[in-house]
């Protein structure tokens, strides 16, 4: 059984218009493996993560099933409270928004450890120092007494990761963990996350719009668009040959160092649909170069075969290679 099983997850928001951010998503994450969800802004990927751990905004509602280690996380009364900060660790995009400004970071780390259960404050602080060293923060002991604003952006993200890892979770949810960082720091954090998941035997559910991050970390990839999963595949197979036109477009849009100078950037024409609008057919159809009349009228279902799946009437490579 997979560590995390998501079936038919749907997330709606109340408001002047009813907005559906996540539309019947099926995903699974195996133990010690890394699944990366790739998508543009507004595709619903962040809301997907938040809904699994019960951190949606007050006007958001999640339906469907999210099973973590066999335990259902969706339902009345916040059942996810039991796994927050224990089985599931969470790293947010904006590290400075993850740490309480008026508490020292040593305190915040120790807190996370104590909340997970059973250790004394003394032991928690010792563990906090060890964890800071593990996330490659130099002079960990000195930094225990620091306040978040006294650290640089990259260091804060390391601290945030350390805080998420204090309870030794089985899976780490990471919502665009490197987007707010400088390029050089991004590479370090990605490498760090990869090493940590190996060291700690931890699975990862990673959300990003950056294919570079994906290639460094992911075992499996799911492509999300307008609230739907359009394609999921094992990572190496995905990069070798994506089957959905949108996935192909995403890969093609990444400029290559080998391109001759003056090459135009390839982009996907058009813009994603506004959240809340529903189309009768395939959501990607307005921007798809391969679109046929059938695509406009009929929404392709997500068809999975083994570890791969696709929602398209006319995928590239109809047959398996």
């Amino acid at each position: 059984m997979a560590l995390l099983e998501i079936r038919g997850l749907t997330v709606d928001f109340d408001g002047p218009r009813r907005v559906c951010a996540v539309d019947h998503v099926d995903l699974s994450v195996e133990r010690e493996s890394c699944l990366a969800i790739v998508g543009e802004s507004g595709s619903g990927k962040s809301q997907l993560l938040l809904s699994c751990v019960g951190l949606l905004a007050a006007n958001g509602h999640a339906r469907g099933s999210v099973r973590f280690d066999g335990v259902e996380l969706l339902g009345a009364g916040d059942p996810a409270a039991r796994i927050r900060g224990r089985g599931i660790g969470f790293v947010f995009q904006d590290a400075s928004g993850s740490l309480t400004p008026h508490r020292r970071i040593g305190e915040q780390l120790a807190e996370a450890g104590i909340a997970a259960g059973g250790i004394t404050r003394h032991a928690a602080i010792a563990e906090a120092e060890r964890m800071l060293t593990r996330v490659r923060l130099p002079q960990a002991r000195r930094h225990l007494a620091d306040y978040p604003h006294e650290l640089s952006g990259g260091m804060r993200q390391r601290v945030a990761i350390a805080a998420a890892l204090m309870p030794r979770p089985q899976i780490l949810f990471a919502d665009e963990p490197t987007t707010a960082l400088d390029m050089t720091v991004q590479a370090e954090i990605i490498a760090l996350l990869g090493d940590l998941s190996d060291e700690l035997g931890m699975a990862m559910l990673l959300v990003t719009h950056d294919l570079g991050v994906v290639s460094g970390l992911a075992d499996h990839i799911a492509v999300m668009y307008a609230g739907r999963i359009l394609e999921s595949a094992e990572a190496s197979r995905f990069f070798a040959g994506p089957r959905h036109p949108y996935s192909a477009g995403l890969l093609a849009a990444v400029p290559s160092l080998d391109d001759p100078p003056g090459t135009e950037l390839r982009c996907i024409a058009g813009t994603p649909p506004r959240s809340g609008t529903t189309l009768p057919g395939c959501r990607f159809e307005p921007r798809c170069e391969r679109a046929q009349p059938r695509c406009r009228g009929e929404d392709p279902p997500f068809v999975s075969r083994g570890s791969a799946g696709i929602a398209c009437h006319f995928p590239l490579y109809q047959d398996d290679r």
């Binding site: 951190l55 927050r84 008026h102 508490r103 996370a112 909340a115 998420a164």
Partner: protein, 310 residues
């Protein structure tokens, strides 16, 4: 942090200087003199009075003598209460005013802040709406309207509390004045605390704390509340100013022998030195307490407290 304290202290000095100078300048440069209202003063007697009070000297000399007096705590003689110096009048009233003012602020903090927290936790439910409606009333209705009404209801109709005068050893006399002074501050603090707490609870780092599995009560007490109270500390300066100004009305209506009543009397009598001296004292108190509030704020906010670190 020490640098911050030093800077703020130095900054307060020019303000104090301006207050003293302005007060003095206004009273000396006014048309006519303090004895114009006295009818039937023969010119020789008036001239003698002026010499006695040093009013025949050039303005700069008068200012110098006044400043020298200030440094000794001497505010000069009262022009109207001939047997008293201003210093005596101030010191007779100061303890009473301080007692009432301090009690009012403490009451306001003890009631207003918890009320605001309570309202925030029950956001948009009945308790919250009722409390906020009352708060709007408390902020908008001025002290000189609240005071007579409270006196009317609790003193005259219900006979629960005395409405005038104060004899030492009868603390019941002080209940109405203190409550009246405190009410507008309670209302403002409740609204401010509620708004601030609600805003802090929406902060991303609160959500992150929940994601780390921290229990809700700990998040509220340790993570949200300290941040939410910062704007409240900022408000303490204006709150003190409001209480000091309000005390003028409260002491007058309830007949309390505090500084405020002397100031009002002095103003009605056009007693220059008394008014000037009292304004300086009030202003100094405000500046000092504002400074204290700023220092508390700086101490609480680690970003200011630890300015040195890179």
């Amino acid at each position: 942090m020490l640098a911050y304290i030093a800077r703020r202290l130095l900054g307060a000095i020019p303000t104090l200087a301006v207050i003293v100078t302005l007060s003095f300048a206004m009273t000396r440069l006014a048309p006519g003199g303090p004895f114009d209202e006295e009818q039937a003063l023969p010119p020789e007697i008036r001239a003698n009075l002026e010499v006695a009070y040093g009013l025949d000297q050039p303005v700069t000399v008068q200012f110098g003598r006044y400043l020298a007096g200030l440094l000794h705590g001497d505010f000069g003689p009262s022009y109207k209460f001939r047997d008293f110096t201003v210093t005596e009048l101030i010191s007779s009233g100061l303890p009473v005013s301080l007692a009432i003012g301090a009690a009012a602020i403490l009451l306001a903090i003890a009631v207003g802040i918890p009320a605001g927290i309570f309202a925030a936790l029950r956001q948009d439910r009945i308790a919250d709406r009722v409390m906020m409606a009352l708060a709007v009333a408390g902020i908008s209705v001025p002290v000189f309207v609240i005071a007579p009404f409270l006196a009317l209801v609790f003193g005259i109709w219900l006979h629960w509390l005395p409405v005038a005068g104060w004899a030492p050893g009868r603390p019941g006399d002080l209940v109405l004045p203190v409550v009246t002074l405190a009410l507008p501050v309670i209302a403002y603090l409740a609204r401010l605390t509620r708004g601030s707490l609600l805003e802090v609870m929406r902060a991303p780092w609160i959500r992150a704390a929940r994601a780390r599995g921290l229990p809700q009560h700990r998040i509220l007490l340790v993570h949200a509340l300290p941040a939410a109270l910062l704007p409240v500390v900022s408000y303490l300066g204006p709150a003190v100013a409001a209480v000091l100004t309000g005390s003028l009305v409260v002491e007058t209506i309830f007949g309390l022998p505090g500084m405020g009543r002397h100031l009002v009397q002095g103003a009605l009598n056009r007693d220059y030195t008394l008014v000037m001296g009292m304004v300086i004292v009030y202003a100094t108190m405000m500046i000092a307490l504002n400074l204290a509030a700023d220092l508390i704020y700086a101490w609480l906010d680690p970003r200011i407290r630890r300015e040195r670190r890179p």
